[in-house]
Point group: C2
Chain length 344, copies 2
Amino acid sequence: MKPDINIVDVAQAAGVSIATVSNVMNGKGRVSVATRQKIEKIIAELGYSPNLTARNLKTKRSDLIGLVVPTMQPGRLQDNPFYWDLLAGVEEGARDRKFHIILAGIDESTETFSFVKERRLDGVIVVGANEGSQAVDRVLEMGLPAVFIDSYLADPKLLQVYLEDRKGSCRATRYLIEQGHRRIALLIGDIPLERIAYYGVLYERWLGYRDALDEAGIAYDPKLMIKLPTSLEGGYQAADRLTEMGDVTAIFSFSDVSAMGLLKRLRELGKGVPRDYSVVGFDNLFMSNYTSPSLTTVAQNILEKGQEAVRMLLDQIDGNPIVKRQVALPVELIVRETTGAPPV
Amino acid sequence: MKPDINIVDVAQAAGVSIATVSNVMNGKGRVSVATRQKIEKIIAELGYSPNLTARNLKTKRSDLIGLVVPTMQPGRLQDNPFYWDLLAGVEEGARDRKFHIILAGIDESTETFSFVKERRLDGVIVVGANEGSQAVDRVLEMGLPAVFIDSYLADPKLLQVYLEDRKGSCRATRYLIEQGHRRIALLIGDIPLERIAYYGVLYERWLGYRDALDEAGIAYDPKLMIKLPTSLEGGYQAADRLTEMGDVTAIFSFSDVSAMGLLKRLRELGKGVPRDYSVVGFDNLFMSNYTSPSLTTVAQNILEKGQEAVRMLLDQIDGNPIVKRQVALPVELIVRETTGAPPV
DNA sequence: TTGAAAGCGCTACCAT
DNA sequence: ATGGTAGCGCTTTCAA
């Protein structure tokens, strides 16, 4: 590590005071063109770069934002190619504005978020916190700029980014109905149905499903709800449940990975898709066009979700006026090969 | 944001000097049990947490490590469910030792790595840098603790983590040969074959393939090398090339995602797997067991790769003696359904 | 066992 | 247009 060169070195080399060097770096104060150029030259020659630690101590900002993802356990996230894009979106947005991302995989239950205070983070982006979770409370009580992704928190003051989940779900269900399906199963996740309202994203999608049913005058049947995780394995197991259901001809799964599990098991069971069952997923992962048959799904732009969140956060940090506190990003039904008319 | 409470506040509340508070926090100096307990009580009551920015300015450490991933372009990484696990491994390892991760998606060509100096990172983990790349040079010239993942750099002093790529590749190829295959295509990536030695991972795997051929006394045929990206789309296109090759009965693809693209297109072309072609991938992604047919592949533990890298880095930062500078993690051939005997 | 005080490198205010 | 200097909150000698 070469001997650190600091602002004093630059000032001496340029024959000016450190205040002037500081002014040049920050574009503050009036500095003559001549001195500015001289200093800039010296900075380049010396390969000087300012010590952000010192600067931050003084300015009380860190130009750092925390990306908080619930329990970064292998098991949980492994099933989410999803998060990577989100991360890329956030990172990219932050980089454009000279911010950096600190990654914090947290353990919901034990985490105190002390690092947020200790590192003087300028703000945080929290992914998938549910109403009443520790994470939300903690963040709020620090009164720190924050944006919540996919969280559906009731408090209207909170900045949030989510999808048109309900609309997307309704559209997917409606499409199945239009194809002639009447008995449509739903893979809703490993939760008790009576508490679904506590699981924002799942709840919205469940509501969308019901919207479509209502439109078509089809009765909602709780027996069609499959309470298994929206994971590969969950989807795999769901296929067995599905085939035991008798009159069901279609299934809407709340994630593409679970839909892939479904496809796998249905094939093993000798069931044709869409001949015997139509299948719809949600996410439009990069590989959803490469399954066989390719997956009909509700597409979201995950990268954009990350970008939008960071944009909102940085605006808040910079004290820009906040136009919209809640942003619902658009979704789109992508019809591919896993859907068709029900068997006669 | 509640008014920041600092070490002075604690000292006053406890009726001691800030030096003593500091000692208590850091377990340094001898402090009487009585004062220690009193101070700890006050700290808890006040909800004080030290300002790491100030601490770092003084100690010249940041307890921050940079995770450097080449060009975080959507296009590139979208195809890598891979990276997420790596990240999880690194984050987890860092967290255990009170370090945090700063994520830096960089643009190989333009990046100056100034943030490394500016933020006084204690070290960096670089993923997938090739010999002679900007990234490597830059990192080295700062003389900063660093670990390179999947980089195959010649300099024996560098800390590196990679796989038993050659061995894994050899084993996979050997398995295909044992099944009776003689003409085995290789999907090696979008690179000129004569420069393959510059692409560490690809080179090693290519060598492994040749090892197996040599063992079996089969001549190496450059015409069997398919120079398409190891991505979904690359695999998809490779299937067309494959079917034009005539006497080829198997293909070994250097990533699972590309193998998935292959499976997709082969099915479209009416080719059976493994009836007409045997297919082997590399990575053992979480979904590789859920393709149809399920994918035979060379498994690596990506999470462990991240953990190992961070362990090596932190040891170096802490000045622990370095036992091994290069670590090759084990791989394992997982035989599933995409491989079998060649058609007669 | 405890405290006083000197910085770490920078920004920003106030002088000049 | 430029410079002197007081901190930001902490760690770490050195003295008491």
